[in-house]
């Protein structure tokens, strides 16, 4: 019992009282230890902590409430004899307390009732003194302090300190095997979840890429050859690696960053067995040649593009002069600025366009190849199988696309140069 909490007169009263039987522990299902309590420096005897109703002798409460009513105490100057919770600011006796009786027998009856937890009257609040603080910060209701600790406690900050003195509150709580095991499970699940999510997303991406790869093979090779390429006999690790690489390579083919890797990739994936020099090149050989063809084409186009651009710009300019585009402008001069020195807003290059454009390439190539196959003049001069026709179609498509982009760019430039601001002619 924290005897130094009470003035000597109260202690004398308490000493005069016959001993009060301590309440037994409330029974706990899976633990033999006492329930959650704040262990305080003064009060480390569990018997006392649990039989708290004995700590507040009726004489002390009534005397204190009288004193408080007579002369309100300014708490900053208090000596610490009165208890006030530093969280809810209620003083001892102000809380909803069980009715106070002076008769000892009545009191004993009341305590028996409380020990049975008849719940009609709330149990008296438990006071704790958890840290080094003095005066108005000395005491708190256990329930208030536990709420504050819960409020401050986070997953990363299990320890809570007193905001005034910095003392870490010491908590005692029940532990049992089942709870520890479940906590371990909880923590393990929390740790594993991000990795499982990542694995799931990767797997989904892999499956989608592989499916796309198979679709691209079927589209480019046509049903007969496609069936053969994807048949179970040919299905090995190279297929598992190669098919998902198809969409990735297609997207990368639009980026100069992949220039170094793409030409080597088919050799690594297809291996030596499939690549034979022949004419017309076999599908495997074609796939190996394509990245090199891409590099060569890009190099040529880089040299050619300025010439094409200039050609179309001049042509467009002439058309503009003849066609009388100069509605508001009196004359269209030859601009002194050389081509390519000015920045023009051109067709947007964004990620969506890049990805979609490259993923639609097989379908567009097939369309183009089929078109080529139906032209009467070309029908007999082209290779008869679908794959080569489609590859040619794709190549033609890329060329057409680059040309149209160049024309578009040239005309945009030309249009921008004819831009004039018109004077206001209202008055």
């Amino acid at each position: 019992m924290p005897q130094n909490l009470y003035p000597p007169s109260v202690l004398a009263t308490v000493a005069a009282l016959p001993p009060v039987p301590a309440r037994p522990y409330p029974k706990m299902a899976s633990s033999t230890q006492p329930p959650l309590r704040l262990s305080t420096t003064l009060n480390n005897n569990n018997n006392n902590a649990n039989s708290h109703s004995t700590m507040t002798p009726p004489t002390a409460s009534s005397a204190e409430s009288l004193a408080v009513a007579a002369a309100p105490v300014a708490w900053e100057d208090s000596t610490g004899d009165e208890k006030r919770c530093w969280i809810c600011f209620l003083e001892e006796g102000e809380e909803p307390a069980p009715p106070i009786t002076t008769n000892y027998q009545q009191q004993q009856q009341q305590q028996q009732q409380q020990s049975q937890r008849t719940a009609t009257s709330p149990p008296p609040p438990i006071w704790v003194r958890p840290c080094k603080c003095k005066n108005s910060l000395k005491y708190a209701h256990e329930t208030c302090l536990l709420r504050w600790i819960t409020e401050k406690q986070g997953p990363l900050t299990p320890d809570v300190r007193c905001p005034a003195c910095g003392h870490t509150y010491v908590l005692a709580e029940s532990r049992d095997v089942l709870l520890s095991a479940l906590t371990l499970v909880d923590k393990t699940v929390a740790a594993v979840v991000p990795y499982v999510t990542l694995a799931g997303v990767s797997l989904a991406f892999y499956i989608v890429s592989t499916t796309y790869g198979a679709y691209a093979v079927m589209t480019m090779c046509g049903p007969d050859v496609g069936e053969r390429v994807l048949s179970e006999n040919n299905w090995g690790w190279r297929t598992w690696v190669g098919l998902p690489m198809i969409p990735i390579s297609l997207i990368c083919s639009r980026l100069t960053a992949a220039d170094a890797a793409l030409p080597l990739l088919p050799f690594l994936v297809l291996g030596n067995d499939h690549i034979r020099l022949s004419f017309p090149p076999s599908p495997a050989l074609t796939v190996c040649i394509l990245p090199w063809a891409r590099l060569a084409y890009n190099a040529v186009w880089d040299k050619l593009a300025p010439l094409v651009d200039r050609f179309f710009t001049r042509k467009a300019r002439k058309q503009g002069l003849e066609g009388g585009m100069s509605g508001g402008a009196e004359q269209v001069e030859d601009p002194p600025v050389e081509d390519g020195e000015e920045e023009y807003p051109l067709a947007r290059r964004d990620g969506q366009r890049l990805v979609l454009g490259s993923l639609f390439l097989p379908a567009a190539s097939q369309l183009m190849g089929t078109l080529l196959g139906t032209l009467p003049y070309l029908r007999h001069r082209l290779p008869s199988d679908a794959f080569h026709r489609n590859v040619l179609g794709g190549a033609l498509l890329v060329l057409c696309k680059d040309m149209s982009t160049a024309v578009y760019r040239a005309h945009r430039k030309r249009q921008r140069r004819t831009r004039r601001v018109l004077d206001y002619r209202g008055d």
Binding site: W86, I87, F89, L90, R147, E151, A164
Partner: protein, 149 residues
Amino acid sequence: MSNIFTKRLTKELRDLQANPPAGIVVDKADDDLKSWKVVIRGAEGTLYDGETFKLQFKFSNNYPLESPEVIFLDNIPIHPHIYSNGHICLSILYDQWSPALTISSVCLSIQSMLSSAVKKERPPDNAMYILTAKKSPKATTWAFHDDKV
């Protein structure tokens, strides 16, 4: 919970009205005690001598475990820790809050913050802050780096 809320705020209101600290007056407290207006006066001999400012306190049901939301209203003092939308950069209003603090002690802290200013100026990041800040200053993640003022 709300029981503690009501009892504690009733107590604080009674205490503030009975013995108000110098230069601190409760202007208005709502009947449900959730919103208060407190007028504070700049201390004598400081830059804000004679000026009065209105503070708005808003309490959640979790008071006093959770800090009140405190902002200046109307006439907002020009001070290096007070933004022009009334938000106050003061650690005890946010992560350094303790249930042991009261409305009275918060007002005294703000008064002393005003008193220790050496120059009337807005915080350097004022323009940026008032563009991006939420309505409640408690939604802001504050960085406290000035222990002097």
